[in-house]
Symmetry: C2
């Protein structure tokens, strides 16, 4: 018997720590510099780390494994304590810095980020997007809302009966000329506002999406600020609010339902940047109804960013575990050597193929997230300036940009949140049984995450809304020779790749697979041919019949955007020594997330040759995985996520998988409690008298003899 | 204003109830009769319903929406109360009847089924599979274990460091000739028994998998019964047990870890049907090491059955909701009619394509589950008889059958549990936001379910263990002309479909797609060509390099088994009027779960023509969905799952989606609680003094003037 490490051991146990440390020491590039690429710049990278450090050191915001043991009630309360704490940082932060802080909280404790995001993101975005500058100043600044003080807003869009179809909401805002008020009413159970984050307990005000009714005429859905609670936090009369209760995840958020029973608000509580109602009941309508949904755009950026951070986090956990964990003696081990160690999971080609795509996706999505964030900010600023100057031409130019933005951000939101959901699930499975323990991080990650695929535009509905204009554009080009501008301009090549050119192959061989620009081209051709084919049935039947194709088009559109931006950013990156490592990542993403996933489409439409797809599986993917393999520790360390952010016993930096995990389990569930609190029930069952005794021997032969006489 | 239903409404709300009831009335077949097909016979169908009724009426076993609000501690205790209750039914049931009861509990409250299954399934199966008849009688019958009385067993296979590689476990059982005892020891942290269901609080005994060491020689992994707790439920000396803590799901199970520190057990506590150690230390080894894993076979059957019931349950919820829910005016609605109702979700072709495959899968998996259950029972009985009679020839024949069974049950377990996991996730997403509410059933279903993909043989590892012998068989045929028998005999046709026949297409057109037998044939060819291609790289490199292909082969093998059995059962079904409806289901399964999913493989290897795959998407799948559509209510009612089994507010039989859901939310979260228990923290934050006041005006101009003097 020996002492190894801290305990007595009879024999040498597993030593995952040495594996990861050896590999870290042999890394071929510097993770700190690589993080500049992922976060956009050296300055941004360093700001993110200093913000993470503040969270780590903060007594309330600090999060560890005990977080996974909290009940719903405990989560609700702790979430408020954390929001309270963050409100103090908010008072000193710029909006941009606070958003970065929230982006870290989005990984560390997403329910906190959301519960704040509903107030500062959705509620205030609704007011800034639909209200005048004065209205925004009043509700956001003067009342303290932007500092999470005074007022707390929630976002009253979704109803029990209407989620995706916002234009169909049934809450009414009827103008009463007599009193110069709107009467807000929930007309029936289906119009009950539902899923409203912050409504159950927090919110004092709600930005309500309701049908504007003036003189009996329905003007469609507009936005109104409706007080829910007074300054004593008591519900206003006519306002009913309830708690939605238990959810799959994010139990720290007090989602609620709201019913309005003829609640009166002053006319000027209507948000009137675009739409106005005069005291006489004259209605001015906005140039584009969808402008009132611009409140959702900021959330979409956050979700693409969240996807990057989640992909980074879960791939780090699974890959660190895969380096430390050994199981079976694989083909790389001398089977006759009894002292040979078992094979590291990460050295199995299947394991590489299962995990490396998510590592690559984290890198590629990071660049797309930064790009779309920048585009949204500039587009909204341009629109605001145009509205400010009452410049109609500029307004309509901005509306065109907004339409492109809805397409790009919609396809990105849907595609990247799906990808991250898949990553969490697959990374969990790749950690076997230990992935199922809450303390290793995947369980809550998944449960908290998947709502991102549903809220603020259900991913399927969003994907359809991206696919439909693309089909219409193809039909426009083919039937009327209309030219397309913007991010789908590649559709103009439709004739070069359909009809007599329908069998022109873009990806013929391994050399084509290696060329990311050719892969980008091939995605364009795949979209064109899919859209061309779908357009045929759309002309015969209707758009609804092309639903499955529209979703595929939306996904491919997102990959096109992401890869294009990735290649551009790699080209601009000043640290040239890292470029080869980034190119490997880009090729791996192309090979796995795009080509392997869509092999059916690429083959059906002759975009890739069968030989190219066979090579993809047998040669290209294994070759790229082998290129990634020696630097897996560096690639994951590059995310620069500390142990608190990772919050996974098997995913810690030191790689001491088993000791870390066992210590945490014992700390949170002390083994000295050898009996359960309910042990009486258990022991009572095991030590119960025999069935015969409990039946009072009524079925015995003796009893039978007596009773049969 | 009118009174509609029970509440005052201003206007007519949604009426999902009428939709479902109208469709139910128009069903074209009888669900009660269809259930005979799903459950195997009229008798079995009626038995299942009478068992479900007992559970529904039992005060403790009855389960409703409040179940979704329980904390981990509450779940743990309630689970024991339910087990206690079930133990009373067990005393009167046959083993077969009790297993059927457990199969229902597997849907209603899976953690109860598992916590019992570990004892009656794994622990006792280990003893019956590895112990002599006398050992089984002693531990199982005489001590009361089979009635959940006296003893409670757990199953000590997995260790912290070894899960999939059971042959690598490191707990030791060293024979001490002096005392005629085995010394059970946990040699280091990695050998800690881990994830052991029932260990933390319930188990009195453990069937321990440990390395047999006699006279310094390691004889590999054998099985031993080791007492953990005495009759007073106190831990035995040398035994340390701890609680694993929070898990992704199944929190009602007290999974634990166990360390043995030189714990002594009598020699005859070793299970010795196949392996024996004499008092002198002579060791008799079993004819096949894997025989000791037969304990896992019963669990695999249960999991395929569970997959059927879960597919049935979640597809019922999502489809009932899809019938009641209306959103947007789709292309089937007159857009100019302001009074037209919105389109039912289920009438969108994309929605059909998303959901109908899981409906079809429930039907097809049900037949495979019944078949494999029967095969396992007869194979184990034959083996036992052979061992009883000491008939070596028969033993080796049985071992051959066992090997086939490991392949078939392994591919089925992996493929169907993955399919059910995907179904839960996709059905949840198809219900939009409401799918995320715990009260609609998907959240706990998913969290409880996914461990099925990991435990008792990780799905990837199992799939590899299915794929590997198939590759070896192909290599045997190609290189040495060996003929294969059993369920993979179709591999013998390899020459007919490779080499100069590699481009022979099996599925050419829609008529081929309609012929299920041709689809079955095409799966054989796909497996042959995949295996042939993989064998090329296996010969060059090694089996590890074909990992991804092995997993695909395993999945296709399972679909081959399931479709073959489905066709057979449909052919034998006496209620001929139902056969057309079943054939539609079989074709839909072929088109979606097999061909659409594996389009890349079928195209790459010329098993299907590009035209056939194009037709599949554009014609075949929409046509089959249209055939299913009018009878969706009948198809789902055929599962005969009552509201308690479904346990989903939006999935109830009456289809009154919104009223049911709203009522449950209000019942479990009474709106009269208008403030949160933690409202002081919330109000304190909102009503805090200004930053300047809290900073004691130290940063004011006045202070600056003073301090700068």
């Amino acid at each position: 018997m020996t002492f190894t490490k801290k305990n007595v051991s009879v024999s040498q146990g597993p030593d995952p720590r040495t594996s990861i440390q050896t590999e870290r020491a042999n890394s071929k590039f510097d993770p700190v510099t690589m993080n500049y690429f992922l976060e956009g710049s050296k300055e941004r990278s360093e700001l993110m780390k200093s913000l993470a450090q503040q969270i780590e050191r903060d007594p309330i915001l600090f999060t560890d494994g005990s977080y996974y043991d909290l009940t719903k009630d405990q989560q609700r309360e702790l979430t408020v304590l954390k929001i309270n704490r963050l409100s103090r940082y908010r008072e000193g932060d710029s909006v941009d810095t606070f958003n970065k802080r929230l982006s870290i909280m989005g990984v560390v404790d997403p329910q906190v980020a959301t519960r704040i995001g509903v107030n500062l993101g959705l509620f205030l975005s609704c007011i800034s997007g639909n209200g005048t500058a004065e209205q925004f100043k009043y509700w956001a600044i003067d009342k303290g809302t932007h500092n999470i003080q005074g007022l707390y807003g929630c976002f009253g869009m979704t109803e029990l009966g209407h989620g995706s179809n916002v234009a169909g909401v049934e809450t009414t805002a009827t103008f009463d000329k007599e009193t110069d008020e709107f009467v807000i009413n929930t007309s029936h159970i289906g119009a009950t506002k539902w899923w409203i984050g912050g409504a159950a307990h927090s919110a004092t005000h709600c930005s309500v999406y309701a049908r504007l009714v003036v003189d009996g005429k329905d003007y469609g859905v507009k936005t109104f600020v409706v007080p829910l609670r007074d300054s004593n936090h008591d519900l206003m009369p006519g306002v009913t609010v309830g708690d939605i209760g238990a959810k799959m995840g994010r139990d720290g958020i007090d989602n609620g339902w709201i019913q309005f029973s003829n609640v009166r608000i002053p006319r000027f509580f209507m948000l009137q940047k675009f739409c106005k109602v005069s005291a006489e009941g004259e209605v001015v309508l906005p140039p584009l109804e969808q402008l009132s949904y611009s409140a959702l755009l900021g959330g979409r950026v956050m979700m693409v960013l969240d996807s990057y951070r989640m992909l980074a986090r879960v791939s780090t956990i699974a890959l660190r575990y895969a380096i430390g964990r050994r199981q079976f003696k694989g083909d790389n081990v001398d089977q006759n050597d009894p002292n040979a160690l078992e094979t590291q999971l990460i050295d199995y080609p299947l394991h590489q193929k299962r995990l490396f795509p998510y590592l690559a996706a984290a890198y590629v999505v990071s660049t797309g997230a930064l790009k779309v964030e920048h585009t949204i900010q500039s587009t909204l600023a341009t629109l605001d300036a145009a509205v400010e100057n009452n410049d109609t031409t500029a307004i309509f130019k901005s509306i065109d940009d907004m339409k492109s933005l809805f397409i790009d951000s919609g396809s990105l939101k849907a595609t990247t949140t799906w990808l991250a959901a898949e990553a969490i699930d697959q990374c969990r499975q790749a950690c076997g049984g230990h992935g199922y323990s809450s303390y290793n991080g995947f369980a809550k990650a998944f449960n908290d995450w998947v709502v991102q695929c549903t809220w603020e535009g259900d991913n399927n509905v969003l994907s359809l809304s991206v696919g439909k204009p693309i089909i219409k554009q193809i039909i426009g080009i083919e039937d009327s020779g209309k030219t397309v501008r913007g991010s789908t301009a590649f559709l103009n090549q439709v004739k070069d790749f359909t009809g007599s050119n329908a069998s022109k192959v873009v990806l013929n061989n391994t050399s084509d697979l290696n060329d990311i620009n050719k892969v980008i081209k091939s995605i364009e051709v795949a979209i064109i041919r899919l859209a061309h084919e779908a357009a045929i049935s759309v002309r015969k039947e209707s758009l609804d019949f092309a639903g499955a194709e529209l979703v595929q088009i939306s996904k491919l559109k997102a990959h096109h955007y992401l890869l294009t931006e990735f290649v551009k950013r790699v080209g601009e990156f000043e640290h040239k020594e890292l470029v080869p490592f980034l190119n490997t990542i880009g090729r791996l993403y192309s090979a796995t997330v795009v080509l392997d996933k869509f092999a059916g489409v690429f083959l059906t439409f002759n975009v890739a040759s069968p030989q190219a797809i066979t090579d993809l599986a047998s040669t290209q993917i294994p070759k790229l995985c082998a290129e990634v393999r020696p630097n897996v520790v560096a690639y994951t360390d590059s995310f620069q996520q500390s142990d608190m952010v990772i919050n996974s016993a098997i995913g810690k930096y030191d790689g001491d998988v088993y000791e870390n995990y066992f210590d945490l389990v014992k700390q949170l569930n002390p083994p000295k409690n050898t009996k359960a609190p309910y042990t009486a029930a258990l022991e009572g069952m095991l030590n119960r008298p025999s069935l015969e005794a409990r039946e009072r021997y009524e079925k015995s032969d003796e009893t039978a003899a007596i009773l049969s006489k």
